[in-house]
């Protein structure tokens, strides 16, 4: 599936929820089911420092695709990363670089983009794109 198709799928899933509670419960669920990151990647260099919770993001190249793994100490944050990984992992670096990210608004997570949440959704997206640029250059 392309990034755009996955994003549409996620938007459809979130459209089924009536209220924020169901949405948050789903995000928590996603956080819990995020595959564990290997311990060797849970290191300082992979840390995206947000204001409130820690996020580790690791990227590696597999053939011509980029693969992300991640973890966070806060479960909501972890759920949000799970959404990002589902969207951007196992995609071509060039596609990740050029991907549109407005689907975040559409699934009602816009508030997590504000700088006060500095929990890193903005930093996470930025880091994902930076990894893509770096791996593309290699």
């Amino acid at each position: 599936m392309t990034i755009k198709e996955i994003q549409e799928e996620i938007v459809d899933e979130f459209a089924m929820f009536d209220d924020w509670m169901q949405r948050y419960e789903y995000i928590i669920e996603l956080g819990k089911s995020l595959p564990l990151i290997e311990d060797q990647y849970k290191v300082e260099e992979n840390l995206i420092r947000g204001c409130q919770s820690k996020v580790w993001l690791h990227a590696e190249k597999n053939d011509n695709k980029i693969v992300f793994t991640a973890d966070s100490d806060a479960i909501l944050t972890k759920g949000i990363i799970a959404i990002l990984i589902r969207t951007f992992s196992d995609q071509k670096a060039v596609d990740v670089m050029n991907a549109d990210t407005s689907f975040i608004d559409e699934i009602g997570l816009k508030e997590h983009l504000s700088p006060t949440r500095a929990n890193g959704l903005v930093s996470m997206l930025k880091q994902i794109k930076l990894y893509a640029i770096a791996l593309q250059a290699n």
């Binding site: 924020w20 509670m21 948050y24 419960e25 409130q52 919770s53 806060a74 479960i75 909501l76």
Partner: protein, 405 residues
């Protein structure tokens, strides 16, 4: 005066709104307080009727504005019981006040001198002193904290030597709400000839400090935490110290005479008040202090104690709760976590239910490192909060726990 909570709440327009479809419960008072209508009105009145630059013009409005500003200074002098009004400096807030003093000390301190802060400090009472030490070659020492969040007074006394030049501690901790024994700290520091700066940012919303009784050399606080406008604050300094410290910022108003060869400085308080100050803010801060005094700090303290006791009692019933800062004497601030749950997750969920608390490290990372936690959930109550609001928070916390388990 009788303490009438309904009347008080009606004076705070911001409290009567919905957040995410729920009535707002504002428990982030330690970050900033809400403003009563008299304060909002005074701000409008200043710009509608009084606005002019102060201490300069001979014209009528300038005189009116100057008088109002200086009357406010005297009001604040009386409020904190300073000996002289020129010992009361207007600042932009606590952070500015500490930086002013620390910067001055950075120029006075010498290699071998020592500065003492505590483990309980806000970053703004740590970093300026690190600057001062780096600049002067002095050493920074830290009063250790005990498990219940109190400061180790025995260790403190052992830290004090004739090399100690200044001790900078908070009156009440922002992260834990613990009240520190500042009178004792000041007394002991003076015995070795050290000056003492008290960070009163978290104390002034709850009590009326008496700087002469405390005998502190500096006392700093913020206007926005006591019902006043943002960008206002006070630095009290003893006359002798303010004369000794070099000026912080150069500009208009702070000079006596300027030639290109040499400038001489104005007398106190103008030496430290360069440029056009926050005139409206300074005047309105006086209005906020009048408002609090009208309610009465005894009434405020008694009511907030009731909220604190009730909050502790209700929160204690929740499963897996852990409290930080459990000393006997505390301000109405409760810092807590739930076992195995990140504070951010709880804060984000209860926000959806209209409850405003602070989560995170509260700009006091050394405290979080001590407890080995990423942060806490901090509920801080003001005199306009109610037990019903605490009940709403408890219900929201239960829901968050359920969702996060």
């Amino acid at each position: 005066m009788k303490f009438d909570i309904n009347k008080i709440r009606s004076q705070f327009p911001i409290l009567h709104q919905q957040v995410n479809g729920k009535p707002l419960v504002y428990f982030d008072n330690a970050a900033t307080s809400q403003k009563p209508q008299v304060v909002i009105d005074a701000e409008v009145k200043y710009y509608s009727e009084i606005n002019a630059n102060i201490h300069r013009g001979v014209h009528h409005l300038s005189q009116v504005a100057t008088d109002a500003y200086e009357e406010s200074r005297i009001k604040i002098q009386k409020h904190i019981n300073a000996k002289n009004s020129f010992e009361v400096l207007f600042t932009s807030g606590t952070t500015f006040g500490i930086n002013l003093v620390a910067n001055g000390f950075g120029q006075i301190l010498k290699q071998g001198d020592e500065v003492i802060v505590s483990h309980l400090e806000h970053h703004s009472n740590i970093v300026p002193w690190q600057f001062a030490c780096e600049r002067s070659g002095a050493t920074l020492k830290v009063i250790p904290m005990l498990q219940n969040g109190s400061l180790d007074m025995e260790a403190y006394q052992n830290l004090l030597t004739e090399n100690t030049k200044i001790v900078a501690v908070n009156h009440i901790s922002n992260a834990l709400g613990v009240v520190n024994p500042v009178k004792f700290i000041i007394e002991k520091a003076h015995q070795v000839g050290a000056a003492v700066l008290i960070d009163g940012a978290q104390a002034t919303p709850h009590l009326k400090p008496d700087v002469q009784e405390l005998d502190c050399d500096f006392y700093v606080f913020s206007g926005h935490k006591i019902g006043g406008p943002t960008g206002t604050g006070i630095l009290y300094g003893k006359e002798a110290w303010l004369n000794k410290l070099p000026p912080y910022q150069g500009g208009g108003e702070m000079i006596k005479e300027v030639t290109f060869e040499k400038t001489t400085y104005a007398c106190l308080p103008h030496k430290f008040e360069a440029g056009t100050p926050n005139i409206a803010g300074g005047i309105v801060l006086g209005v906020a202090i009048d408002y609090l005094n009208e309610i009465g700090f005894d009434n405020i303290a008694a009511y907030e104690q009731e909220l604190l006791d009730y909050g502790m009692q209700q929160l204690s019933k929740l499963e897996g709760i852990e409290f930080y800062g459990t000393t006997a004497e505390k301000a109405s601030v409760i810092s807590f976590n739930f076992k195995g749950i990140h504070p951010y997750d709880v804060g984000a969920i209860i926000d959806k239910l209209g409850i405003a608390v602070r989560t995170g490290h509260h700009c006091a990372q050394p405290i979080m490192n001590y407890f080995d936690i990423p942060g806490t959930i901090r509920a801080s109550f003001a005199f306009y909060n109610t037990k019903e609001e605490i009940d709403a928070m408890i219900e929201a916390l239960k829901k968050a726990q359920m969702m996060l388990q």
